[in-house]
């Protein structure tokens, strides 16, 4: 159970603070030293709800910053756990030691998104995985409502965030956190008061047996979108040997379907195909190549697991809107979209020659996008000369790296960059540790080889058939941690 939730900016100022439990921040005393009133009394002690915004008027065009903190009227004293977190984690000199920090017998579970810190606080011995998952969910929900989690967005939407916090956590216990369902309760600043119909939806949605879908959904056009999103991770030795590689993928579905549709999803999972393809030897040989071995997969709550275990078929009634149907991991037969071949030569003590070749390894008809190669340089670099065949390359002194960007690159191509790095002579005998060359990219296929074979929709009550549903499938492969040592 979560005692409180705080959102800090990178300076350690509290943007949002919501305390659910009394045991958190016991030293929280909100003092009101109003000079007009006769007495000085400590008033709010351990309020169950606290509001603070520490943002100042500095150049913020929006109303929240229009007034600066009045010093006389009210001061919030919070020399307590909240501050301790700022001092011990956000302002700490050394790197973060652990995402769970214990300060004064209070555990802080923290997650960082861009430069915003989210911290869940508790004094209980809780289930760490659950708290982190909750924080991730919280981030997802906020993103769904107002886009990127940034200081400005949080300030502009603070009422909405408090509203959300009120809805997804009650007394510190996670309640309904599905974005789709939440949208029936929280209209994004929507002015319209709820109609009769919507009210009855709230009632029926939660009285129905299926928690994730309400009844009576209607769409003029039945449509569904399937996104296969994969991130491919690689660690390669300088000699080109794969040290470790894996793909973690997600199948995200956006469904706009009427009624209570029953869906069946099929992919080229090895086990399924082998089961079906017992016919001719020829077929198995052929399909064997195309099928993939999934190491491990997990499904959204709506998937009937019993059916998956017995027949390996994935059938479900989808939630309305966007959700993550499945999550999987593969380690075998991964198509590595790029090969990086580094060549580093030290010429004397003050010069370094670097040559990096990247080779794209997929069908020539496909285009990879947003390619970025990051070649680290030693700390004592004084100057860099870069020549590249394609794209743009720049030495970024602040990041100690040469960043080489290519907008687009077709398959089965090769490109090269060479750089001369001049070094300042140093007395430091420390050998340069040579951090790995890392890469970012996006490719329009699934590096694991996963293919969606079918997605069938049945709705027995309403009269639309599988053929009437418009289906879209998209594959996106992104780089996770894609590193080649040099």
């Amino acid at each position: 159970m979560i005692g409180g939730l705080f959102i800090y900016n990178h300076k350690g100022e509290v943007l949002i603070s919501r305390v659910y439990r009394d045991d958190i921040g016991t030293a929280n005393t909100l003092h009101c030293g109003d000079s007009e009133s006769r007495c000085k009394t400590p008033i709010l002690k351990q309020s169950s709800l606290e509001v603070t915004c520490n943002w100042k008027a500095s150049g913020d065009p929006n109303p929240p910053g229009a007034l600066s903190l009045p010093s006389k009227v009210c001061r919030v004293w919070r020399r307590n756990a909240v501050d301790a977190f700022r001092v011990n984690v956000i302002h700490a000199r050394q790197q973060v030691r652990s995402p769970v920090t214990n300060i004064a017998r209070t555990s802080f579970f923290h997650v960082k998104r861009s430069n915003i810190w989210l911290a869940a606080v508790t004094k209980q011995n809780v289930n760490a995985a659950m708290v982190f998952e909750f924080l991730y969910k919280m981030c997802d929900v906020m993103t769904a409502y107002f886009g990127k989690i940034s200081e400005e967005n949080i300030k502009n939407n603070f009422v909405l965030i408090y509203e959300l916090l009120d809805e997804i956590l009650d007394f510190g216990y996670p309640q309904n956190s599905e974005t789709g369902a939440l949208k029936t309760f929280i209209t994004q600043q929507g002015i319209k008061s709820q109609t009769k119909e919507e009210q009855s939806q709230i009632t029926s949605q939660v009285t129905g047996q299926i928690g994730w879908r309400r009844e009576g959904i209607k769409y003029r056009r039945n449509e569904l979108f399937l996104d296969v999103l994969e991130s491919v991770n690689l660690l390669m030795s300088p000699q080109g040997q794969v040290l470790s590689a894996h793909v973690s993928g997600r199948v995200v579905m956006k469904s706009y379907l009427s009624g209570m549709p029953e869906c069946k999803f099929g992919m080229n999972d090895k086990i399924v195909i082998e089961k079906q393809g017992k016919g001719t030897a020829d077929e198995t040989g052929k399909s064997g190549k195309q099928s993939i071995a999934i190491d491990d997969c997990t499904f959204h709550q709506c998937v009937r697991l019993s059916k998956f275990d017995s027949e390996r078929s994935i059938s479900f009634i989808p939630p309305d809107g966007e959700f993550e149907l499945m999550r999987y991991r593969t380690t075998k037969d991964i198509i590595l979209p790029f090969r990086v071949i580094p060549l580093v030569r030290e010429v004397g003590r003050t010069k370094l020659e670097v040559k990096v070749v990247i080779k794209s390894n997929f069908k020539p008809s496909l285009l990879a996008q947003k390619i970025e190669v990051r070649i680290p340089t030693p700390l004592n670099t004084s100057g860099v000369q870069v020549i590249c065949m394609k794209g743009k390359a720049k030495y970024k002194a602040s990041e100690n790296a040469i960043v080489w960007k290519i907008k687009r690159m077709a398959g089965m191509k090769e490109s090269q960059i060479s750089a001369e790095i001049e070094l300042l002579p140093t007395n430091d005998k420390k050998k340069w540790a040579r951090p790995p060359i890392s890469m970012n990219f996006e490719v329009p296929f699934a590096p694991s080889g996963l293919k969606v074979r079918y997605l069938k929709v049945f709705e027995p009550k309403l009269n639309y058939s599988d053929h009437d549903v418009i289906k879209w499938v998209r594959y996106i492969g992104r780089s996770g941690i894609y590193e080649t040592r040099c």
Binding site: T26, D34, E36, C39, K40, T41, Q46, L49, T52, P63, L67, S68, L69, P70, V73, V76, R79, Q94, Q95, V96, R97, S98, P99, V100, K123, N127, A129, M130, F132, E133, F158, V159, Y162, D170, F171, Y173, P174, Q175, S177, I191, Q194, Q199, T203, V206, T207, G211, S231, N233, L243, S244, S248, D295, D296, Q301, L305, S306, M326, R327, K429, P436
Partner: protein, 756 residues
Amino acid sequence: MPYLGGEEAQRELRRALSNPHVQADPARYRGAVLRVIRLMAQGADVSGLFPEMVKAGAVPDVVQKKLVSFYVRAQAPRQPQLALLAVNSLRKDCAHPSPAVRGLALRTMCGLRMPGIQEYLQQPLVNGLRDKASYVRRAAVLGCAKMVKLQGDCEVDGALVNELYSLLRDQDPIVVVNCLRALEEILKKEGGVVINKPIAHHLLNRMPDLDQWGQSEVLTFLLRYKPRSEDELFDILNLLDGYLKSSSASVVMAATKLFLVLAREYPDVQADVLVRVKGPLLSACTSESRELCFTALCHVRQILRSLPGHFSSHYKKFFCSYSEPHYIKCQKMEVLCELVNDENVQQVLEELKSYCTDVSEELAQGAIFAVANIARTYTDQCVGILTELLGLQQEHITSAVVRAFRDLAWLCPQCTDAVCQALPGCEDTIQDSEGKQALVWLLGTHGEKIPNAPYVLEDFVENVKSETFPAVKMELLTALVRLFLARPAECQDMLGRLLYYCIEEEQDMAVRDRGLFYYRLLQSGVEEVKRVLCSPKSDPSLGLLGDQSKQPVNAWALDFNTLATVYGRERWALISAQQPVEPSYSCSPCADSRNTDTESPVSEGNKEVLEVQPDTHMSEENKELLKVHPDAGSLSLIPDVSLTAEQFEKTWLSLDTSCQLSLPWCGPVHADTIQTALRVVHIHTIAMSKTGAQPWKAYLSAQDDSGCLFLTELLLEAADAELQVSVKQNEAKPEALQCFISALRTVLEAVAGLES
């Protein structure tokens, strides 16, 4: 400051809120309410707008209602009288046709923290529990828990508990889980919610409908259920099988724990479960969510402690990548150390070797110690790697390697020769105390195998004056005396010089005494010195002791999926040990509600709070204060304790602290007020600093009717906003201690309230 002044802003807002034209236009009306909230969020005092805001809550617009509810909850404790206004309109909202409004009203009411709210709460809550919309039922169920927490001391209403138990059969999954949570809190004193067979089976059947939070929590509640027979046990395990592969890591972990605990008598089932969660755990370990990855790694380490070979074939998954945060790298290195076997040792060592030159010194040293750890089993390869690292001549690397060598020489005597060969040349690069100590120890103990040992030590002796670390000097003395026994001719002269320096010139007493000791020991003859100093040079058995022998799974099954695993057992023991009287913390709201009770009517008086109670009815008065904890029995402190300051000091020093806590405190302490207040509850002041002294201290004593003494120290550090309280007790009576602490706390909080 360009601030307009709270008063003016307030006045303007009041005008806007009560303007009928604004009220007629929903958008403008809400805009005004929003401005109030903004102002409040910035810390301004907007309490004056309470009546207008309550009125603003009586519109059909749900969003506006929410904003008002937000305001009311924050402001109600300041204005208990006006809050009643809000209660009225909230009660009206509880009968609103829209479930969203009903639920909101219930939540708001339960969130009002003012005295006497309970009587207004009861009826709406009972209605809420029977509401046809599950949204309202969810709020009502948790509302019950909040209400019980608010009243604190009263008897738990049996009817309410029964109602909640029956709601476990509710259709809505979240209501079911909320019921469990609420019952757990309400029945805390009786050991929480009871999971009997029908409830357990019911919950098992409802599992598929729950969301991930619900599943994870229900799995934790099910830990409490003990199946009657083996068949039932295996039925349950079969039913829950799917959750071992759930998409949510928390559900997987909760399910694993349940399996491990339920199957505590079936080791093969446990082993099987651990094999089956391998996949999910590995994907959590390689997931992009770093925090989750960290949690999973902690659990992997826990499992490895019982099943060392469990993840060996997947060792590559635990290779660090450059951009991972520090904490993950450290965990991964630890895991790598534990899953080394004959097949992968080569690759793992190669990998660890590359971390040894990491930019972060801490990480590099960690990697070196990891290699040293593996060296206990695979000595030759590791010593080779470590020796190679010495060639880099990096200060932090050499220091760590030499320290690793010292431990190795002690634990694995077979590698001594290799270590001795590698040492020459290190002395130039080592700068830190730890590294120097290790080097000197090695030179002294194994000096006969290192040809230039005396010369290296001679350098140390030459520079002893500029040596900053006393620990190095001590080590140097011991090492030189040892080496003198092995190679007397080369060492005699410098030993003389060192002893002379230590005895005549050294400032540090410990070093001087050590010098004197060796001097006198040497006077008693070489044979005697040998007898004293020539102890064994290695002790391999220590390595076995230090090695954590395989723990049985049952030893940690209950810690699985708790913070104990994440923090590590030792640290967790430390953290939880500091909370000897945990209940007294969670009871703090009761103490508080009590506090506000007494305080509000006498806002302008000061000491009356405590003096209204007649001095003569001491024991009754105690009960009055202590009824906060009805379960604690009666603690009555006797009015006159004859304890002199000397006796107090003696007793104080002989006892261990039984409880420590800190209370919020602002400003100086008025000694008289505290003393008077404490005397009322029969806590006597033995000694106390003057008002305004920094740090301010006080010593208190009290005795109950059974003769148990309570000694207390109050400490207020300068510029500290917390009063540190430590209590000692001469007999271990946790219940009495709890009563005493809550009494003390109540008094101190009351005083704090008066003073600030």
